[in-house]
């Protein structure tokens, strides 16, 4: 499967943009301008690769809270993400009522997750089956971390999807830590994808720092789902190079050497090298992309900072549909 050159360029820009935006969000949080940030740094390769493998015009996305790059690549704008971070009225997920990173966007078919991890998994299976019952040619992709795989929701969602051959892709972004819990204390196996055999669906493990490898694996899973072949469990292995959130000090539970070692394997370094080696990127065009990303992020930051807060009288609405 060859990836078109324009797609590679677009993916690279999305990764650069996501990282630039993420870095800015950390700065804003540390400056006290916003309350909280939960970062997707280091996972951009998985998210952008997977987003480009889907049909973003009609498929459904159930992201999890690190899917910063995923929702950007899916069509959300830096402005929209900043509005969420600053808790402004224009935040498309919740109108400024939710915590940041609970991404949701009705027009783009992005369904917001709840804070308890893994709850989005059975919900995604439900949407996938609903689309199938309606005869829609739609695939649903749902993301979660390796911590979520220990929850009953994961099990019930995968089992039900396999029995009913739901057109859904389960994308586990295995970043090796569930807050402070290393994978070795989370499960007694090496690969999350080995769980697939227990549900009767294909399971694949892919290097999550290799954007093209993720693109291909998810593309294959999407084609299977679209042709009636049922669900796939894709495990993309990576490493969380940042603390769990802006409220976490990861020095308490892991060494700096470990983090630095993984930073060197990061998706941007890797993808950049690939593009340079294949003469698909040069310093001049890279500088232009970087400048463009910074300009977009600057503009989004100012836009959100000046945007109005939600009205207090609307704080408890809309809770129910139609409110």
């Amino acid at each position: 499967m060859d990836v078109p050159v324009e797609t590679l360029h677009e993916m690279f820009y999305q990764i650069v943009l996501a990282r630039t935006l993420d870095e800015r969000m950390w700065v804003l949080q540390r400056q006290g301008q916003v309350a909280f940030h939960i970062s997707g740094m280091g996972q951009e390769g998985i998210q952008v690769g997977a987003a480009f493998a889907m049909d973003r015009e009609r498929d459904f996305l159930f992201p999890y809270y690190r899917d910063h790059a995923f929702v950007l690549a899916w069509g959300m704008t830096p402005r929209e993400l900043m509005l969420g971070l600053f808790a402004r009225k224009g935040d498309p997920a919740s109108g400024g009522r939710q915590m940041p990173a609970h991404y949701g966007h009705r027009r783009l078919r992005i369904v917001s997750q709840s804070s308890p991890v893994a709850t989005q998994i059975p919900q995604a299976v439900g949407i996938a089956l609903a689309n199938e019952l309606r005869g829609e040619d739609v695939v649903t992709i749902v993301c979660f971390g390796e911590g979520a795989t220990s929850k009953g929701d994961f099990h019930e969602g995968l089992n039900f999807a396999a029995v009913h051959k739901a057109p859904v892709i389960f994308l586990c972004q295995n970043n090796q830590y569930a807050i402070s819990m290393p994978q070795s204390k989370q499960m007694a196996i090496e690969n999350v994808s080995d769980k697939a055999v227990g549900y009767g669906m294909p399971g694949v493990t892919v290097d999550g720092n290799d954007v093209v490898a993720v693109y291909k694996a998810v593309r294959e899973a999407a084609e299977r789902a679209r042709s009636g072949g049922g669900p796939t469990l894709v495990e993309a292995k990576t490493y969380r190079i940042v603390p769990h959130s802006s409220d976490d000090d990861d020095r308490l539970y892991r060494s700096r050497e470990e983090v630095e070692r993984w930073k060197k394997k990061g998706p941007i370094i890797r993808f950049r090298k690939f593009l340079y080696e294949n003469n698909l990127l040069d310093e001049e065009s890279e500088a232009r992309l970087q400048a463009q990303a910074i300009a977009e992020v600057d503009e989004a930051t100012e836009f959100a900072r000046q945007a109005p807060f939600p009205d207090l009288k609307n704080a408890i609405r809309p809770v129910y549909y139609g409110d």
Binding site: M187, A196, G198
Partner: protein
């Protein structure tokens, strides 16, 4: 693993006793003497008796509603069972719960179960973790069905048990139907034991109608757990030979399927093996059968003569100080 002849004959007698008590329960239900519902163990005798036989005296077992044989092997008497089904004060739940619900006895190492069946799994894991924390060489064994396997509780338990290498054994009684749901609508795989690979623990499929095979795999799993090597997932394949409960005529189960499984009846099979080995003569078989029949008759009389609980007792026994 060869068991002494004496054990083989005792296993045979417990299987017969299980069936005789079960038949009597069915009869009493049809006579209108049992309130509510009544669940049958018919066809599950080899799993319940074989698995319970593999446990040591200090181990703990969490049987479900089709594991009457396990209760009996652990020391619950036919009198206690029938009193329980008839809702009498002499029962283990003192007449406040029906059928095998609440038939636990911690003195015998039996955890009573609650109606959401898979919830027994994390409870059993809790017992196993307590043994591990106290450094006691004890093992906890939990039963669950093919239907329970789809519940989150099953997954969370198997995962945590495998991470902690808990001294636990999980035996799934795959009896082909979860109420009316056939296994092909329950999961998209052939063997539930295949799930073990996803937890990093051994998974074994065993013929659930072969009592010695069940004993053998459970014994190995129990000893493995006792050595600190962690849990095992065992899938014992069998067939539910009556409806989900006595009110259910199981119209959704093909008659041919039941007929095929009737040919594999665990008791007839074991009896034939014992006779072939010269361990069971007609005379001995008759002696055992009459002992079993007498025990069931005695239990029925005892239960029917036992008083019902008083209305005011309904609220007692909820907390540990009463």
């Amino acid at each position: 693993m060869t068991l002494p002849n004496e054990d083989l004959l005792q296993i045979y007698e417990y299987m017969l006793l299980t069936r005789a008590v079960d038949d009597r329960i069915d009869l009493l239900f049809k006579q209108g003497k049992i309130e509510g519902v009544s669940f049958s163990s018919l066809g599950h005798e080899a799993i319940a008796v074989g698995a319970a036989w593999a446990l040591g005296p200090d181990d703990v077992v969490a049987p479900l509603h089709r594991d009457l044989g396990a209760y009996l092997v652990r020391g619950i008497t036919p009198r206690q069972v029938l009193a329980q089904f008839l809702g009498r004060r002499t029962a283990l739940s003192r007449g406040r719960d029906g059928n095998t619900h609440g038939m636990g006895d911690l003195n015998l190492g039996i955890l009573g179960y609650v109606s959401p069946l898979p919830d027994q799994l994390p409870l059993t894991l809790g017992a196993a973790m307590a043994f591990w924390v106290r450094q006691e060489p004890r093992v906890a064994l939990a039963f669950f069905g093919d239907g329970s396997s789809s519940e989150g509780a099953a997954h969370e338990t198997l995962n945590l048990a495998s991470v902690l290498k808990a001294p636990a054994v999980f035996i799934c009684e795959n009896n082909q139907f979860a109420y009316s749901t056939p296994t092909k609508k329950q999961f998209a795989i052939e063997n539930l034991a295949d799930r073990a690979a996803g937890y990093g623990i051994p998974g074994v499929v065993v013929d659930g109608n072969d009592v010695l095979a069940v004993y053998d795999v459970v014994h190995k799993a129990v000893e493995r757990a006792r050595r600190g090597e962690g849990p095992t997932l065992i899938e014992a394949k069998t067939m539910r030979m009556r409806g989900h409960a006595a009110h259910d005529d199981a119209f959704y189960v093909p008659q041919e399927l039941l007929a095929a499984w009737r040919e594999k009846d665990p008791i007839r099979r074991f009896e034939a093996a014992l006779r072939q080995q010269g361990l069971l003569s007609d005379e001995l078989a008759e002696e055992i059968a009459s002992r079993v029949a007498a025990a069931v008759d005695d239990a029925t009389t005892f239960a029917e003569k036992s008083p019902f609980p008083e209305g005011r007792e309904a609220l007692e026994g909820v907390f540990c100080d009463v």
